[in-house]
């Protein structure tokens, strides 16, 4: 990847942000697969997480072409908020948060577990992992190249 006229660190950072975009795109398409193809209706908390994830698919490329290390400033608030909601969702499903402050009353209960892979991977876990990875990679790409 690295070329002599653009600093190699910058190419590495570009790759990190590109990886963030890949993660966000896979998460977006994955969630659309669950709801539109498999027919699992998304609960309220899932929608809030989608609100944080979907824009990343469009915002991150804006920071890739041309490469802008300040992309962190636009993308990190979304990924951190998404992470927060995903962790809340996980705690809710695990039962650590009492029913009374559950935000969804009607329709699809947020505590309903629709998919379990390998005995522990659920949709909110996938979401939390994606947001965490995206946030970490964004911070890493920003820290490595002081300008």
């Amino acid at each position: 990847m690295s070329m002599n006229s653009s600093p190699p660190e910058q190419n590495a950072d570009w790759t990190l942000v590109f990886a963030c975009w890949l993660l966000a795109s896979v998460a977006t398409l994955g969630s659309l697969f669950f709801s539109e193809v498999m027919g699992h209706p998304p609960c309220v908390l899932c929608w809030y997480q989608r609100i944080c994830m979907y824009p990343l698919v469009l915002i991150l490329p804006a920071g890739l072409f041309p490469f802008d290390r300040n992309i962190l400033r636009y993308a990190l608030p979304l990924s951190l908020l998404g992470l927060l909601i995903a962790v809340f969702h996980l705690l809710l499903v695990a039962g650590y948060i009492p029913e009374s402050i559950k935000p969804c009353v009607q329709g699809i209960p947020c505590t309903e577990v629709q998919i379990v892979w390998f005995g522990f991977v659920t949709i909110p876990l996938l979401s939390a992992a994606s947001f965490l990875l995206i946030s970490a990679l964004l911070v890493l790409s920003h820290r490595r190249s002081p300008m």
Partner: protein, 237 residues
């Protein structure tokens, strides 16, 4: 950064930095195409698998699709059977209802329609109870017509208010005292629970859901339903 790129462009047509950027763009475009293809292929494979599973269930265990208690319309000798899971409060169900009737009218004696209850809206189970009680009096289809026709007034904005339904079924000649009694009979509740359980087994999460001789819609839409019926007719007749 931008200025730098401009300078490079001025010095030569194939500067190394531009080359690297071109590669990055290629990689990005490749990733977009790849992800979309994987999604489309996955969706196709999944739908196919589900359709085959449903067709197999239909052969092996037809009872999941059609129960003894299910209201049925059309000639007993018909070889094409449409099973429709519907919710009386669902707007799309109302819109599809005339279409199904039209399909049946266009192919007399060849199509049978079974209705299954899927009261997914809060409160529409009360309306289903009215329908089921009317079914006991042999007036299911008239009542369903009336309920759908007046849907906008008793279920505004997807908020069913079952008590309002009574205003619209007065002219059907129903025995109201008996209707009330049948509505609250444990048997009626059992019918609803059975239909909901079958809906779950058949992976019905949205209404209306159709099965034509056990085959679900490949994707939701009026044309898809027409096509499925056309294929089933062609196979049976």
């Amino acid at each position: 950064m931008k200025r730098k790129a401009r300078e490079v462009r001025q010095t030569g047509p194939v500067a190394p930095q531009q080359k690297s950027k071109g590669k990055q763009k290629q990689l990005f475009v490749f990733a977009v195409v790849f992800l979309l293809l994987v999604f489309a292929a996955g969706a196709l494979v999944y739908k196919n698998q589900k359709a085959n599973e449903a067709a197999q269930t239909y052969q092996r265990n037809k009872a999941t699709f059609v129960r003894e208690h299910s209201p049925v319309f059309g000639s007993p000798g018909a070889k094409v059977e449409i099973v429709e899971f519907l919710d009386p409060a669902c707007e799309t169900c109302k819109q599809f209802y005339p279409l199904v009737k039209k399909l049946m009218a266009a192919n007399p004696e060849r199509i049978r329609l079974y209705v299954r209850y899927a009261p997914f809206h809060n409160g529409s189970d009360q309306v289903v109870k009215i329908l089921e009680a009317a079914h006991k009096q042999g007036k299911f289809w008239e009542t369903l017509d009336a309920v759908f026709a007046a849907q906008a007034s008793w279920a505004p904005n997807h908020r069913p208010q079952p008590q309002l339904v009574w205003n619209h079924i007065g002219g059907l000649g129903l025995d109201i005292a008996r209707l009330n009694q049948d509505m609250n009979a444990p048997e009626t509740e059992r019918v609803i629970q059975q239909d909901l359980a079958d809906a779950k087994t058949l992976n019905v999460t949205m209404t209306p859901e159709f099965f034509v001789n056990g085959r679900p819609l490949p994707s939701f839409g009026a044309e898809q339903l027409q096509e499925l019926v056309r294929d089933a007719l062609a196979a049976a007749y």
